[in-house]
């Protein structure tokens, strides 16, 4: 009798623990699937924009000639692009990362406002010359390949 009961308690504990941990896992999986929309490239943001106010990350290149400082001295507006048609206007109020220049890669954290301007709360740019945000590493390689292709077109 007591042996049965002992087994019983062990089993109950194991089941409770499993249920809780599985529950956590499922909850995490569900939340993460929603997060799959967290990182956007400029063309994705233009094609299927997230709801205004939804926090997302936008990664791309700072378009040449697009950085402007507004009159308050602390708000900067620029355009993030994938070097193609997609261009997303971005506004950022804050102190710019040290190596934030036109033509460099950037990851902006923030959300779209109702006018389609991306309001960035935070900019992740290169910390130093060796650091590139991981999300951007492949983009730049990709881009470099494409640009190389374009410049060699017609040379054959």
């Amino acid at each position: 009798m007591s042996g049965l009961k002992a087994k019983h308690q062990r089993l109950v504990l194991i089941v409770i623990a499993l249920v809780a941990i599985l529950g956590a896992g499922l909850l995490a999986a569900w939340a993460l699937r929603n997060q799959a929309n967290y990182f956007y490239l400029p063309d994705q943001l233009v094609e299927a924009p997230p709801a205004p106010g939804q926090p997302v990350r936008l990664g791309g290149m700072v378009a040449q000639g697009s950085i402007r400082t507004l009159s308050d001295g602390v708000t900067v507006s620029f355009v993030v692009t994938d070097q193609e048609a997609a261009r997303v206007p971005v506004q950022f109020s804050g102190i710019l990362p040290d190596l934030f220049v036109e033509g460099s890669g950037v990851v902006a954290e923030g959300s779209l406002n109702r006018d389609g301007v991306f309001i960035a709360d935070n900019l992740l740019a290169k910390h130093d010359e060796n650091y590139v945000p991981r999300e951007l590493q492949e983009i730049s390689q990709h881009q470099a390949a494409r640009m190389a292709e374009e410049t060699t077109v017609g040379l054959e």
Partner: protein, 653 residues
């Protein structure tokens, strides 16, 4: 010469670790102790000594800046201050791995020297496990990252150290975390030893407990210090970014917290035997995974300094062997561990089981969130997982856990009833509800900070309830430790909630002499001057801040330019008051000659780190209390034994 001595010591250490493994393994096979088995303890002690020597050699080559050693040439600079030359020894990949094994070898030597409570076979199995883990790390060091490698031609000057790492606080941050990781490796070895020799007893739990407590204290300190460092050094005003490197230290902490509580149940009540072993394996796996995540560079991180995928593969391999091996052993042997004592759900054990399950769930959530970007990468989808995932999902499990933590210590072991602790539950509930109502009336506070505030205040009161009606002078030190640690959790939580609920921020471009307000502070930019340090130049702003009619406080935020390697950083300036911190960062100069200034007023933000310190202090008190109680028990037993022999001698006479 010194470098070669260090390398030789390392090779000897590796050989001793092999001896330790073989000797310990043979001791399990035979009934009589073989000659090799007797060597296990001395081998562990000698290994500790030699690893210490190897690390001393590394410190020496860094102290004298021996530029013929590759590691010194790439990471140090003759102009660097002495403190940073020394901390440079472990501020890089090879050196930090050497520190890892050194601490592990020293810990192994220490248990070989002093631990006499467990059966000798269990000890030998434990030391064999310790040796087995060490072998992997020695192989890693000697094959793929030799810290003593020489250059064919000595460098003329070192390449410097990442200026972000040139900080006194950071000099002691990685070693603290490593002490924690290594303490968990000892707990792991004990778990493996106990599992191998089928000796999962309360005595085993008592032997393992100080190591778990110690590891937990160091991890707590490491995380607290790391968070404060990120807070003032990165200049973003945040103190936790759910960054992979931060998660890498949080996951072992969560596992260690669970282990710490289950080990207490095992020691006091002989229950939760298998679960404790399992947690021992998980906790160490998490520290290995942490090292792997930090060192492999597989994940994006704001703290990504030393990264090398090849080495990551090596650590991944080690990880697979150790975690896979330990889980296999667990699977094979767990069935042989006999069921422990039973208990009712409403009991101290029940509350601790709840705590353990919730902690495991949180651990799972953090683990999945940290690894998820890696998984999706395999399917060519780029994902970043950030606070919008971790905060709400984590809170779902954290809040119930904290609520049970408020009343759990009031429950009795084995069986109890909610009825008996009705009054304290009513008190805590009414505090939580009234704070919630007050805060909701005060204004617009988001849900999570609001919940955080009321749980924190309720918990702060509840954490002292276990002392109710007791003679304070006779409360055991370990109980004080628990009370302080739980109170520390409440304090830290209050700081976090207050920071996210009440922070005021102001960003402006100012002319010299211009004033802005933030919260109830008035802030003036008085001037901006160039200044120079040993290896940097900077623009330094003089900022005065007033509050009411008080005297002005001078803040000196800097924007620094380092030249080896070239890099720009912002040095924030902090003014600490009892009720919060004023935080200032100077930015760039605008085209029309104004300066960007960013100022935060963060009410009670400092409580986050005070809380962390309280938790660590509580853990340390608990460890001291337990060790002292053990020593006392030992001396009492020894005295009783000697009295008995005396009496027997008299009787025979």
């Amino acid at each position: 010469m010194i470098a070669e001595l260090g390398l030789a010591a390392l090779w000897l250490c590796a050989a001793l670790a092999v001896l330790q493994l073989i000797g310990g393994a043979l001791a399990q096979r035979r009934d009589t102790a073989s000659g090799l088995a007797a060597m296990v303890r001395p081998a562990a002690m000698l290994q500790g000594l030699l690893a210490g020597l190897a690390f001393a050699c590394l410190l020496w080559v860094f102290a004298v800046t021996d530029l013929s050693v590759k590691l010194v040439a790439t990471n140090s600079h003759s102009l660097k201050p002495m403190l940073f030359k020394l901390s440079g020894a472990w501020g890089n990949h090879e050196g930090s791995m050497l520190l890892w094994v050194t601490v592990m070898a020293l810990a192994g030597g220490l248990i070989a020297m002093v631990e006499k409570r467990l059966p000798e076979k269990t000890m030998q199995a434990t030391l064999a496990a310790q040796g087995f883990v060490a072998i992997g790390f020695y192989a890693f060091l000697l094959i793929s990252s030799n810290p003593f490698e020489r250059l064919a031609v000595a460098a003329v000057e070192g390449q410097g150290l990442n200026p972000l790492l040139q900080d006194a606080g950071l000099a002691f941050h990685p070693p603290t975390l490593y002490f924690g990781y290594v303490g968990l490796s000892v707990a792991f070895s004990f778990a493996v030893g106990a599992l191998l020799t089928r000796n999962v007893t309360p005595e085993f739990a008592r032997v393992m407990r100080p190591w778990v407590l110690g590891a937990w204290v160091f991890l707590t300190l490491g995380i607290t210090a790391g968070s404060y460092w990120a807070y003032y050094e990165l200049g973003w005003g945040g103190w936790w970014f759910w960054d992979p490197v931060e998660n890498a230290s949080l996951m072992p902490w969560l596992a260690a917290t669970a282990l710490l509580h289950s080990v207490s149940v095992l020691a006091a009540r002989d229950a939760l035997r298998t679960w404790t072993i399992m947690l021992g394996v998980v906790a160490f796996s998490m520290s290995m995974l942490g090292t792997f995540l930090v060192r492999s560079g597989l994940l994006t991180s704001v703290h990504a300094f030393a990264v090398d995928p090849e080495r990551g593969t090596f650590i991944l391999f080690l990880l697979a062997i150790y975690i896979g091996g330990a889980l296999l052993l667990f699977g094979l042997r767990a069935g042989h561990v006999r069921e422990g004592e039973r208990f009712q759900l409403t009991s101290r054990e029940g509350a601790l089981v709840f705590n353990n399950v919730m902690l495991s769930a949180i651990l799972g959530i953090v683990l999945l969130g940290t690894l998820y970007p890696l998984l999706t990468e395999a399917f060519d989808v780029r994902v970043s997982v950030g606070p919008p995932y971790f905060n709400p999902v984590g809170a779902i499990f954290t809040i119930p856990m904290l609520l049970v933590m408020a009343v759990g210590p009031l429950l009795r072991w084995r069986r109890d009833s909610i009825e008996r602790i009705k009054l304290p539950i009513a008190i805590v509930t009414s505090i939580i509800v009234s704070v919630a109502v007050l805060a909701a009336l005060m204004g617009d506070i988001a849900v999570l900070p609001l919940l955080g505030l009321c749980v924190a205040i309720g918990l702060a009161v509840a954490s002292f309830l276990p002392l109710r009606g007791r003679n304070l002078l006779r409360v055991p030190i370990a109980t004080w430790g628990m009370v302080l640690a739980h109170f520390g959790i409440a304090v830290a939580l209050f700081g976090m909630a207050s920071d996210s609920a009440f922070t005021k921020e102001r960003l402006a471009a100012l002319q010299l002499g211009e004033e802005v307000t933030v919260g109830d502070w008035r802030v003036t930019l008085d001037g901006v001057d160039p200044v120079a340090g040993p290896n940097w130049t900077a623009m330094e702003a003089q900022v005065s801040a007033w509050r009411g009619s008080g005297a002005p406080i001078l803040l000196l935020p800097q924007s620094r330019n380092f030249w080896a390697p070239p890099m720009q950083t912002s040095e924030s300036a902090l003014a600490t008051q009892w009720d919060g911190q004023l935080y200032a960062v100077i930015g760039n100069r605008t085209e029309d000659g104004r300066w960007q200034l960013r100022v935060w007023w963060k009410p009670f933000v400092t409580f986050i780190w005070y809380g962390g310190l309280l938790i660590a202090l509580g853990g340390a008190l608990a460890a001291i209390g337990r060790v002292m109680a053990d020593l006392k028990r030992r001396s009492v037993r020894a005295r009783a034994n000697s009295r008995r022999t005396e009496r027997r001698a008299k009787g025979f006479a």
